[in-house]
């Protein structure tokens, strides 16, 4: 579900703005670190879980407004370079603010320990993340499918020029899409922190998987991103049972296999 969440945010940004957001992994990491700091500031995990991704969304707003928007006229190459440079800046910024050594962040006490399911002892927090990520994906899907603004965003993915011609402020659309994508990356990072801990390089690890999900689902296809995230996660879990050494390689193997048959991705049209 976390892969689906990351892929959904990246697919939204890629679809609406038509640029691959190389800073998406860094935003994931920033979400985790914001959670850590927020917990220390407010002393409450749940409040921190609300605040941290909002902080990342605000950061996304600022990035789009001050960084990407001025480059729309300059062309895609510049936007691409900008997001790549931004990923480095955010990564080094994490080191400057929080240091190069990682931390652990325990789940809230109510979610510590596990449930004995008979055949397995499963951490309560992981079950919570599964449900939470699922709800977030569903909420985002409903927003995009059932609300007017969601429809505008989907229309922006389909045909930006037509949306603009219909009198909709396309810049505001881009800003909102980037902020929403950043929010999804941030909350994915915040949810992941108690599972994987925090380290400056945690975003790099996730970025590769996010791009695989987007490519596999079809560039800009939101349903495809969700499906691809689930397929990748399941494939990894199944392969790890029988051939642990291949648990990372399987992600790319699945992508390659599907793209050979459907180069446009599972649901892609371009």
């Amino acid at each position: 579900m976390l892969y689906a969440l990351m892929g959904l945010g990246l697919s939204l940004i890629t679809g609406v703005l038509n640029i691959p957001n190389f800073a998406h992994g860094a935003l994931f990491a920033v979400g985790a670190y914001f959670l850590f700091s927020a917990i220390h500031a407010v002393g409450n995990f749940w409040l921190a879980l609300v605040l941290a991704p909002v902080g990342v969304a605000l950061l996304g707003l600022a990035i789009e407004y001050a960084g990407i928007r001025p480059l729309y006229a300059a062309g895609h190459d510049y936007q691409l370079l900008f997001t790549f440079g931004l990923s480095l800046i955010l990564g080094e910024g994490i080191i400057v603010v929080w240091g190069p050594i990682g931390f652990s962040q325990l789940p809230p006490s109510i979610l510590r320990g596990g449930l004995d399911l008979g055949f397995i002892f499963y951490p309560k927090y992981r079950l919570f993340v599964m449900v939470m990520a699922g709800l977030l994906v569903l909420s985002t899907w409903l927003f995009l499918e059932k609300t007017r603004y969601g429809a505008i965003m989907r229309a922006g993915i389909e045909n930006k020029e037509m949306v603009s011609l219909l009198g909709i402020d396309i810049h505001r659309l881009f800003t909102a899409a980037f902020a929403l994508g950043a929010y999804l990356a941030g909350i994915a990072g915040a949810l992941t922190a108690p599972i994987r801990g925090l380290s400056p390089s945690m975003g790099v690890d996730m970025l590769g998987i996010a791009f695989v999900v987007v490519a596999l689902g079809g560039l800009g296809n939101l349903l495809g991103a969700i499906a691809a995230g689930l397929i990748i996660g399941v494939a990894q879990a199944v392969v790890a049972l029988y051939w642990t050494e291949a648990s990372v390689a399987v992600i790319f193997a699945v992508m390659a296999a599907i793209l050979l048959v459907r180069p446009q991705g599972l649901f892609g049209i371009r």
Binding site: I120, S199, Q236, S247
Partner: protein, 409 residues
């Protein structure tokens, strides 16, 4: 020319000319007397392990600064290059430092895989190379006259860990291994299984994970399914930290003991909370409570300068530099072959205790530390992670030695 006659002038002129010819005709001799000794630290300042690069640099600098940046009357020029944890970049940069800056003494890098590539450069360029890491090939199958290994042999590590743990937990016979899938992991796994035979251990599972793995849930559920008495990890850095976290999240620890067989000690343990560290047993090449005069002085200086105790990384850099300096002292020379010959068979009481360099393999024979992590209530301060419960220095038995001929210059 009142007091000087023609003969005196001619004599003076001859002496002056001879001196000038000597200076011009033997430039190497004249330059060598004032020549600095260039030492290279090839450390990961970017890429994987980039968090460790600056602290490795610290350790090496501290050892050199203790000598006032001088050896045998000559100034030491300390240069660094970024290994980037990539063999291509590292080898290129080492060659550039050797050719361009005259570096003759190389310490590093941090990654075992990259170290093997740098070792080949050392052999080709005939420079002295010191490395500390888990690959046994440096003093094993790929040994040669120019490279030395500072870390304990993986056999020494495995023997110390298994023997000490079994002494404390004689009934823990069912072991599940979680192994990093590269040369270092395979070596230590092999020796743990060999030593385990002598204790009647049953290895109920052994999973290999790719380097850089971050999703350990599947490995942990497999481990739990095998119902082991203990889980032993043979991995390092973020892999080990992430896995330890997941093993705790899934409820295996603290009920089951978890062994971190080859750990960097402080650098890994600081990333875990006291709850996660409970019932973790740690093997390491250095721990900051080591009871030697050199370690105590080093830890005191390091803490005064940097605020916290040193882990394995800066200690290894410090230790390797000190060994090299011992080599200069014994050789009374800064020529590479002389220092190498001096290091072969050298015996010193240094950072980790009694240390001896095996002349046949260039492996340092020295203690390996085994610690048990403390519970939160037993910690005297936030950095009081563990107690050293044993050290071991059993060398690799001859039948396993892969270095058959250290070679010539």
């Amino acid at each position: 020319m009142s007091d000087l006659n023609r003969r005196d002038v001619l004599k003076l002129g001859a002496v002056g000319a001879a001196g000038a010819v000597a200076g011009l005709g033997f430039p190497a001799v004249v330059r060598a007397q004032a020549k600095e000794v260039v030492m290279l630290g090839i450390w990961p300042f970017t890429g994987a392990f980039s968090d460790v690069g600056p602290i490795l640099d610290r350790g090496m600098k501290m050892a050199l600064e203790e000598r006032g940046m001088k050896i045998l009357g000559k100034p030491i020029k300390y240069v660094t290059r970024d290994s980037a944890t990539q063999a291509g970049a590292s080898t290129r940069r080492v060659e550039e430092a050797v050719d361009g800056e005259g570096a003759k003494f190389v310490i590093g890098p941090w990654s075992s895989g990259v170290a093997l590539a740098v070792s080949e450069v050392a052999k080709r360029k005939k420079v002295l190379h010191y490395f500390s890491g888990g690959t046994e090939d440096i003093s094993g199958a790929r040994c040669h006259r120019y490279s030395f290994q500072w870390a304990a042999s993986p056999y020494t590590a495995a023997k110390t860990v298994v023997d000490t743990f079994m002494k404390a937990n004689p009934k823990a016979k069912r072991w599940h291994l979680l192994v990093a899938d590269y040369a270092f992991g395979w070596s230590v796994e092999k020796y743990i299984k060999e030593v385990g035979k002598t204790h009647g251990l049953e290895f109920v599972g052994a999973d290999r994970h790719p380097l850089g793995e971050r999703e350990f849930s599947n490995y942990v559920t497999k481990a739990a399914g095998n119902k082991p008495d203990v889980v032993a990890m043979i991995n390092f850095g973020l892999d080990a930290v992430t896995a330890a976290r997941e093993i705790f999240n899934f409820g295996l620890t603290p009920k089951l003991p978890l062994i971190m067989t080859w750990s960097s000690g402080v650098e890994e343990l600081v990333q875990l909370t006291p709850e996660i560290r409970e019932n973790i047993w740690v093997g390491s090449n250095f721990y900051y409570t080591a009871d030697t005069p050199v370690a105590k002085e080093f830890v005191k200086s390091y803490q005064a300068k940097f605020g916290g105790p040193p882990g394995y990384a800066p200690s290894a850099a410090y230790g390797m530099t000190r060994m090299m300096l011992h080599g200069f002292d014994k050789a009374k020379s800064t020529e590479v072959p002389d220092v190498i010959k001096a290091l072969e068979g050298i015996e010193v009481n240094d950072l980790v205790g009694r240390m001896r360099v095996d002349a046949k393999t260039h492996q340092t024979l020295r203690p390996f530390f085994f610690m048990r992590c403390k519970s939160k209530s037993a910690m005297k301060n936030p950095m009081d992670f563990a107690d050293i419960i044993a050290t071991g220095d059993t060398p690799l038995p001859a039948e396993y030695a892969a270095c058959k001929d250290i070679g010539s210059f």
